[in-house]
């Protein structure tokens, strides 16, 4: 492409690049501040105000939050829900997506309508709560998974991906005597690993971030995932400090402790982020929604 080399165009570039750099910085600074703050002492945080990179490194905040099993229990719950939930969701989503990707399937469009309609209208919080109660999931970790097992967007993305696989493959497998389940597990899945991996990561992030369903369906504090604990500690400033039975006479959580809990709840997502980013940045996934 021929580049525009006029003065106006260069000015435009300078302003544009500068603004974008500032926007990116502002987006990311709060995270750096929180991570930096969690690794410093309360004294330094109070004295230096805007800590980005601590000078006085300290692990006190982490020592404090890991001194009881409250956070270990919450992390355990989150890990369990994330792993189990992702597996379960992927199983249901990919089976359904594959079925609905078959072009000549009778009632396919009716079934698609049934699925898509749920994006436009739903029963709302209370009726859903009652159904969760009727199906016996209240106060069980299953309530964080089963009532949200399929995300319509994720299902449609996978369905478009399956639809774009060459049809000839399936036909030749059929001639070789493979049934539909065999085609799905031995041909479609191995060919779709990039899409499967990406959608799994999307589910995993959603399950890790689960909060709403935990406060709706779980009364038992022992079953709270890490997000609920985070809110207790930071937003309500209860949980840890008011729970004197567990923390004795320790002072209320100060800024560094709150920051450390935020970091613990954030790290897993940041760890998978590069993998996620690799796929969606190409725009391939979301672009395919239209298909």
């Amino acid at each position: 492409m021929v580049h525009d080399r006029t003065l106006g165009s260069r000015m435009f570039d300078i302003v544009n690049y500068t603004l974008l750099a500032i926007i990116a910085m502002i987006t990311i600074l709060p995270f750096i501040h929180v991570v930096g703050g969690s690794f410093t002492t309360s004294a330094e945080l109070a004295a230096r105000k805007f800590v980005l990179i601590p000078t006085d490194w300290s692990l006190d905040a982490y020592r404090f939050i890991f001194s009881t099993d409250t956070i270990f229990r919450a992390l355990g719950v989150s890990i369990l829900v994330t792993a189990g939930g992702t597996l379960f969701s992927m199983l249901l989503t990919s089976l359904m997506a594959y079925g609905l990707s078959r072009r000549n399937l009778p009632f396919r469009s009716t079934m698609m309508f049934v699925v898509i309609f749920t994006m436009l209208f739903n029963g709302g919080m209370i009726p859903t709560f009652l159904i969760v109660q009727y199906t016996g999931l209240l106060d069980s970790l299953l309530a964080l998974v089963i009532p949200v097992s399929i995300n319509v967007f994720n299902m449609i993305i996978l369905k478009s991906f399956f639809q774009n696989l060459p049809e000839g493959l399936e036909e030749s497998a059929k001639i070789d005597g493979c049934n539909d389940i065999g085609i799905f597990s031995r041909i479609v899945i191995p060919l779709s690993m990039p899409a499967i991996a990406t959608i799994s990561l999307f589910y995993a992030v959603t399950y890790w971030n689960t909060y709403l369903h935990a406060i709706l369906y779980l009364n038992d504090a022992d079953k709270w995932p890490v997000q609920v604990l985070l809110r207790q500690i930071v937003v309500l400033a209860t949980g840890m400090n008011y729970d004197s039975a567990e923390f004795g006479d320790t002072p209320p959580p100060d800024q560094t402790v709150k920051m450390a809990v935020i970091v613990v709840a954030t790290i897993p997502v940041l760890m998978v982020y590069p993998f996620l980013q690799k796929h969606f940045a190409k725009g391939a996934l979301l672009g395919s929604i239209k298909g």
Partner: protein, 317 residues
């Protein structure tokens, strides 16, 4: 029409029917694969829709959805006369309006800016950074906001003092709730919102830009006359989808920011349903509130869709 033709018609019709039947039989494993997903949608999406009938009942847990007495529109009458109603209605609409008028254009502007970047590495880096907050839960976003805005050593207040201003109690102040809400929405979703626009922009024919340059169009003019019109359809579709979300505006986010001091501006339909329904156990009344909200949402989507079709755009269905 002679007899022969009629007979032919019958044959072909029954043939077609048996063909469909044969297709279904041939695909029985496929239906089996769809079944678990279908069951999920029926049980956890459609049963709750059926459950909306309790909005017209006096729901008693021991009587269940089928046994509770019918009360007609009693709960809706109560809703419209509830002194809280107009305040919630107003709060919901204001947050929705802020989403549509303040937040919605931002990803468009950001993607226009990103689209002009020629250095791929720079573009990638900016994208990578601005997408991050989207993957954080609202709890994390609100918590980070909280530690930065709190009066006890939050960095923003410390800086205010440093520059000689008074401390501001952002978190417990009703006039700061809305700015705080929309800033957090922008922070979390601004980057993510660009993806779909950038994808649409990448499909624009580069020859159009070259032709415009030949004619001496500046970069701003190219953006205005080529890039923006090319993504118009995408914008329209996203506006409609956004309107559908209206009343779906993140219960989580608002609930996390909500406290006794800002309740008068922060209480929206969803938080009200939660408080009245699950905390106070008024299942029927809160279902009526939720139903009213969903109903308004559906009407708004259909209205927006109708408008966009009227204006010659595609619409979403």
């Amino acid at each position: 029409m002679n007899d022969k033709a009629v007979e032919n018609m019958y044959v072909s019709k029954s043939n077609r029917r048996s063909e469909t039947f044969r297709e279904i039989k041939k695909n029985r494993l496929i239906y089996l694969m769809i079944l678990p997903g279908m069951l999920y949608f029926i049980i956890y999406k459609y049963f709750p829709m059926y459950g909306l009938i309790i909005a017209f009942q006096d729901y008693k847990p021991y009587l269940g959805m089928t046994g509770s007495p019918w009360v007609g529109f009693e709960h809706f009458e109560r809703l419209f006369t509830d002194p809280m109603f107009w305040s919630i209605f107003k709060n919901t609409l204001i947050l929705f309006g802020m989403n549509l008028l303040i937040f919605f254009p931002i990803p468009i502007i950001l993607s226009l800016m990103l689209n002009e970047v020629r250095i791929t590495k720079f573009k990638r880096t900016v994208q990578t950074l601005v997408y991050i907050p989207h993957f954080m839960s609202w709890v994390i976003i609100v918590s980070i906001g909280y530690v930065m805005l709190t009066m006890d050593g939050g960095v923003i207040n410390e800086l205010l003092v440093y520059f000689g201003f008074e401390k501001i109690n952002f978190l417990l102040n009703d006039s700061w709730f809305r700015p705080m809400y929309i800033l957090q929405v922008i922070w979390r979703e601004m980057g993510w919102g660009t993806i779909i626009y950038l994808a649409a922009m990448s499909a624009i024919d580069p020859q159009m830009y070259e032709a415009a340059r030949m004619d001496g169009a500046s970069r701003m003019r190219q953006m205005w006359h080529i890039t923006l019109p090319s993504i118009r359809t995408v914008i329209v579709v996203l506006v409609i989808l956004k309107i559908g979300d209206v009343l779906e505006l993140g219960f989580e986010h608002v609930y996390l920011l909500l406290n006794a001091m800002n309740r008068n501006v922060a209480e929206i339909f969803d938080t009200y349903v939660y408080t009245v329904g699950l905390r106070q156990g008024q299942f029927s009344y809160s279902t009526a509130v939720g139903f009213f909200k969903s109903f308004i949402g559906l009407i708004l989507v259909m209205g927006a869709n109708w408008l966009s079709k009227k204006a010659g755009e595609e619409g979403i269905y």
